[in-house]
């Protein structure tokens, strides 16, 4: 595989893995919880590095999942005390965990081959130089991990499809038929944590939030159907990957950042030109309705002229 192809596949697969979860996060109004979880996995990564002294994926995924769960439970517990509101609970827990991770990296950076830059920018440009031994075959590490993340998320969404759908659209009904929306949200956020940590190497801890939220929010402006929304989200993800890659090399800037910018561009486009919920479509609809009303008013006035 050429190195460009490896980078493209890595970017696209990361975007796909995020795109499978993003629509649910947006529909369930969990977007900011996913932001919090994506930040909170950082100390998990550091702790796993420190304990196992390895960059092997499994311990790191486990460490990240643990801290993702700590983050979600911590926020829930803080809210449960009734002493702070939900937004303050989020804003208290995730910065603390992220700060822990940053301090861990700054203190032990040399020991774990990890630095703050890769936390922020990701290391997608180095993707072609990393390989993973899979059943004797040397395959590009990030692509393998990307495929694994996509497969895992696909399985997650497919297995829990009905439950996820019900709890996303009608949580009260779901509760009534004994599907707990809160438990579904937690499961979803654990999936987010795992996705975030796999994406961490390629796009960094923070830009993964962009890929989780922005394409899904754009798709939300374009369609009312869940399957279509997921398909559009994944498509926007790939568009961001391709666009991000080409613009980044043109401007000599971060690939991950450029992916985020392209995704944001897609969102703006959807916001302006979306067929039904776009601002332009709304303005046209409003003007047409106004014209119709004026015409009807004029007709009524003519018909009722005698008075």
């Amino acid at each position: 595989m050429s190195s460009d192809l490896i980078i493209l596949l890595t970017a696209g697969l990361t975007a796909t893995a995020c795109g499978l979860l993003g629509p649910f996060l947006v529909l369930r109004r969990n977007a900011l919880m996913s932001d919090a979880v994506a930040h909170a996995v950082l100390p998990g990564i550091v702790v796993a590095y420190l304990i196992f002294q390895t960059r092997a994926p499994l311990p790191i995924v486990a460490g990240a999942a643990v801290f993702g769960i700590i983050c979600v439970l911590g926020i829930d517990a803080l809210r449960g005390t009734g002493l702070v509101k939900w937004d303050a609970a989020i804003a208290l827990v995730f910065p603390a965990l992220f700060a822990l991770g940053v301090i861990g990296i700054s203190t032990y950076a040399s020991g774990v081959h990890l630095d703050l830059d890769s936390t922020i920018y990701g290391e997608i440009a180095f993707a072609p130089f990393l390989s993973l031994d899979v059943l004797g075959a040397e395959l590009p590490r990030t692509v393998v991990l990307g495929f694994a993340a996509v497969a895992a998320n696909l399985a997650f969404v497919a297995l829990l499809w009905r439950k996820l759908k019900t709890t996303s659209f009608d949580p009260q009904y779901a509760q009534a038929v004994d599907v707990s929306p809160a438990r579904m949200s937690r499961l979803l956020l654990v999936a987010v944590a795992i996705t975030a940590v796999i994406s961490f190497e390629s796009v960094g801890a923070i830009l993964v939030v962009t890929l989780l939220i922005v394409p899904a929010a754009a798709a939300h402006l374009l369609t009312d159907r869940l399957t279509a929304m997921i398909a559009i989200t994944v498509a926007i993800g790939w568009a961001s990957a391709i666009g991000g890659l080409s613009f980044a090399s043109a401007a000599d800037a971060s690939i991950a950042g450029m992916m985020g910018v392209v995704a944001a561009g897609c969102f703006v486009l959807a916001l302006l030109a979306g067929p039904r919920y776009g601002l332009a479509a709304r303005a046209i609809r409003r003007r047409r309705a106004g014209r119709r009303a004026r015409v009807a008013l004029g007709a009524a006035r003519e018909a009722g002229a005698p008075s």
């Binding site: 303050a88 923070i206 939030v209 991950a256």
Partner: protein, 414 residues
């Protein structure tokens, strides 16, 4: 700033850092409170992320590296971000959380692109921009601190001048609007103040963690007092303390300033959440345990009185059988009573001492009064509609009404 710096017991650089951190903590604490009380904290997170591309654009436009010029860019982008978040929330389809998330991550991605772009230009002096991610107190110079202090003082003056309308809006926006206050304008003012706080802090704490500096002081202060003026003042003090402690620790250890400040702040919040009088988790747990213990002791006292009334003084075993209480609870309650001198023992047998008998009477009278209140309270024709305090009905009703209540109960019994 000069005399103030000389007055501090540190070296010049450390004094500048400490002063800068104090200004940052003070303003972030006071102005962040306005966001926390409106549940708009995470908008602050989005705005903090939005300042990153602003700093980069200011650098590209002017080539300057001094913090003050870059602040202008940060402020401009913060305001743009604030407008876009509100606009997106009102555009209809996108929900508030997604609107905040989209703005936050889009601006941050743009910031990263610009940051790496500037890095690739290979200009001298661009290295300092990275410190806007995680914050760095070490680079502060006296002029920056002076400008920060001026901005902060201006913002605090606005809060002081608008205190009453802000208070009404925070407490009940609908009511304030019905009273004729320009709610929209006040919300714009509060958001603009939030931007000021972020702009002051972002250099020291960093764009990613700035939100914590807005929440920590407010959340901690809110546990300690329920009055807005008190919360604002305390939040300012807590913010300044956290800021100075964190900045000095970080300057000493060479760790990035933002994370250290955030962790210090988190510990402070945790302490307040656990220990705050009247509200804290441990405080409430202790009160609950005490109340339960008091009820248990009173119950055992009454059990004992009942047993004494019906026959010879009971042994502990007999008392347990008669009252049906778990043995351990009974033993504990008897221990408490023994210590206060309410019990007297005759070998195995337990009876009440004089003071014990007096306290039984007090408890029984209180309970009688309470049941009389529940049954006949409506006939009392109290001068006001206050709920009386169930723990001390006599004191909260007044002797006259309490006696009347007893008379009514006696009348009904007869």
């Amino acid at each position: 700033m000069g005399p103030l710096i000389d007055a501090l017991p540190f070296s010049y650089t450390v004094s500048v850092i400490a002063l800068g951190a104090a200004v940052l903590g003070l303003t972030a604490g006071v102005l962040g409170t306005l966001a926390v009380l409106r549940q708009r904290t995470l908008v602050g997170d989005a705005l903090a992320h939005a300042t990153l591309p602003g700093v980069c654009v200011a650098f590209i436009a002017t080539g300057a590296k001094d913090a003050s010029t870059l602040l202008v860019g940060a402020g401009a982008f913060g305001l743009i971000g604030a407008l876009l978040v509100v606009g997106l929330e009102r555009s209809g389809r996108t929900r508030p959380d997604a609107a905040i998330g989209v703005m936050l991550s889009s601006f941050f991605a743009l910031g990263i692109v610009l940051l790496t772009y500037i890095g690739s230009l290979n200009q001298s002096g661009q290295a300092g921009l990275e410190s806007y991610l995680f914050g760095q107190a070490a680079g502060l110079v006296e002029r920056d601190v002076t400008i920060m202090a001026a901005l902060g003082l201006g913002a605090l003056a606005v809060v002081a001048a608008l205190f009453r309308p802000l208070k009404s809006t925070l407490f009940d926006a609908d009511h304030a609007a019905a009273g004729g206050l320009p709610i929209r304008a006040l919300e714009v003012v509060m958001t603009a103040l939030l931007v000021v706080a972020i702009v002051i802090g972002v250099r020291t704490v960093g764009a990613i963690l700035m939100v914590a500096m807005l929440v920590v002081p407010a959340a901690a202060a809110r546990q300690l007092t329920g009055r807005l003026a008190g919360v604002l003042v305390l939040a300012g003090l807590i913010g300044a303390t956290v800021g100075v402690t964190g900045a000095l620790l970080s300057a000493q250890s060479g760790l990035p300033t933002g994370p250290v400040i955030v962790l210090v702040g988190f510990l402070v919040v945790l302490a307040c959440l656990l220990l705050a009088p009247g509200r804290g988790i441990l405080w409430r747990a202790r009160k609950l345990a005490r109340d339960r213990r008091r009820l248990l002791v009173e119950g055992v006292l009454i059990d004992l009185e009942t047993a004494l009334h019906g026959g010879p003084p009971p042994t502990q075993h007999e008392l347990a059988l008669a009252s049906g209480r778990p043995r351990r609870a009974l033993r504990r309650a008897l221990g408490d009573l023994e210590r206060t001198g309410a019990l007297a023992r005759d070998g195995e047998r337990i009876y009440l001492s004089e003071s014990g008998a007096a306290s039984v009477h007090a408890v029984l009278e209180r309970r009688d009064l309470w049941s009389a209140w529940l049954e006949h309270g409506w006939r009392l024709e109290l001068p006001d509609a206050r709920e009386p305090d169930p723990r001390d009905l006599r004191a909260s009703l007044g002797d006259e009404h309490a006696d009347r209540l007893r008379a009514l109960a006696a009348e009904a019994r007869a």
